[in-house]
Subunit: 375 residues, 2 copies
Amino acid sequence: MRNINKSVIYTLIFFFIASSVMSGQPGMQNFISPEVKKDRTVTFRFRAPNAKDVKLSTQFINGQQAMTKDANGIWSITLGPVEPDIYPYCFVVDGIQVADPKNTWIFPNEGFQNSVIEIPDATPKAYSIQNIPHGTVSYRYYYSNELGTRPLVIYTPPGYEESVNEKYPVFFLLHGSSDTEETWTKVGRANIILDNLIAQGKAKPMIIVMPYGRAFPVITKESGSLRTWENLQEFQKDFKNYIVPFVEKNYRVKPGPENKAIAGFSGGGGTSLYIGLGNPDLFAYVCGYAPGMVQAEFERNNAVPFADPALTNKRLKLLYFACGKEDPTYGTLQQYIKVLDEKKIKYQTFFTTGGHTWMNCKKFLNETAPLLFKD
Amino acid sequence: MRNINKSVIYTLIFFFIASSVMSGQPGMQNFISPEVKKDRTVTFRFRAPNAKDVKLSTQFINGQQAMTKDANGIWSITLGPVEPDIYPYCFVVDGIQVADPKNTWIFPNEGFQNSVIEIPDATPKAYSIQNIPHGTVSYRYYYSNELGTRPLVIYTPPGYEESVNEKYPVFFLLHGSSDTEETWTKVGRANIILDNLIAQGKAKPMIIVMPYGRAFPVITKESGSLRTWENLQEFQKDFKNYIVPFVEKNYRVKPGPENKAIAGFSGGGGTSLYIGLGNPDLFAYVCGYAPGMVQAEFERNNAVPFADPALTNKRLKLLYFACGKEDPTYGTLQQYIKVLDEKKIKYQTFFTTGGHTWMNCKKFLNETAPLLFKD
């Protein structure tokens, strides 16, 4: 198959967009979506002249919302005022979930297509991008003999590049089961939350390491939650043999478990508890955000911390759980906490409203980061 | 509007995916797309039980390709063997363009929803990710009084972090009109192409700066090509007042125009020629890849280089044009070259097969980078 003239379709699309924009024909491609107004109402628009039914699905309102079509085939809906936050959303076009083609802010995920919208507040939130010093988000590669070339997203705090002799503590932050190494920054705004906390003197400058949590291709992308035993084993190998050494070789890292923290969301929360509690020589700070766990696996997955609870308490500087009270993982977390109580293992909790969402993840991170790396 | 329980839909989706995966029901969510086989055939799959018509649109074959539906509502098509390269593609579901929800590799673009696929070759290509030293791709923010907080993607070559006293030349690389600051790395593999060239000793280690090329919000996202006069003026201000100073403040940059290059694709190519040739104090290396230009604007946009062609030749170390011969910008580029010939302004060209595609962009970059920053 030769490569000549293969771009004809694209070229046509390119000129169609260009010409429709330039001709200023109302309603062709020349519309905005999403459009957020100052009163925090928001209008979503999607062009689908031949669709029978287009709905909006978003996490700030329950249930799919019917949209209406205008004469140009553009479906729209206006909602709100909406509580300020960052929300995923998609269009459901005759039953098919579609991200918003007018919005470049995409939710990095292996399971669904969603766009992301921010409803700003009059006063800045923990995750608001402000005109303050910003850290750097770096996309790196490391090589694993078992898993090949793997991506790694790494946040370094403001001033890292200049303070060439200073060393920093490291926070390993794991995504949820169908997320990717980009979800904590692109949806969770982990970098911005830390920029803001550091600017306010509420958190210590730290490095945040966000790996891809599935041990692909040894573990298939269709294998379900990251907290399956098989993925825990393979990912832990990758984590200890390659990720930690890569970070220690390439970044100015303070030594010792008192300068290492680990947290994760959902399936990544099950993973962070397993790796964190199972490796007290590595981690003195261990957090689970709405962690994916199964009661029948508590003993097996906690063999190290349960073997000597007093030693576990002595070695851990923080064991922390955060969860929404409507989150489906909340019940299992309560069972787990009951076991910890029986064993007299110390922990802290942060329970909020809401469910298994990235709106909550941002709160969890904002609550946790100030507790890390206390002298 | 309160935030409680808003995630019910998502939670249901989450458990639906988890349970269907775990039950192992064939054909529900448990399929792969795209699936590339060793013989370079590729199967695309998309689940849409209620759709009437699903087609594949991709840049390796002309025209939309009909897909067929199985008993589980999964549409599929197998094509190839396909010429090794990286291609955009999408599904056209009852007339609506949809990215592949099973593929996290998304084409960053403001105008369309596409996924991206790599067809690997038996021998590595210029853009192949290999087990060699990799540079760092950093996501940065800078603040402009006029445009607010703006993104900037910056490549630093392998060894940059360690060689703390070394300074580097800088290559500014602009995306096409509906692309974003991420398109050169995520679709064009600019970082990988440079990693490979540097490892082979074919290009000098350099910093690559990839800004967002639209002067939004002063210039609207619906304003068409980046090479419009209004965007050229506003973006040039941003470029000179904020981007260049940010890079010089935050990176170890070799001084002088002989250590600065600029290139761009499509509307960004029109921009790179305008800014590059208009600022000889900044740039001695100027390239346009399938540049977006209009013949009636040649004199206005080239006032500086045309004013004194002999001086232009003296100051420029490289003026370079690359284009596919089937590219719709090829004709205007030929007219422009004719004007340069009349004015005796020197240049180099690289004309290849194919159209206005990112397959060609990778070739253009791979040809150009070795020509930059010659002693």
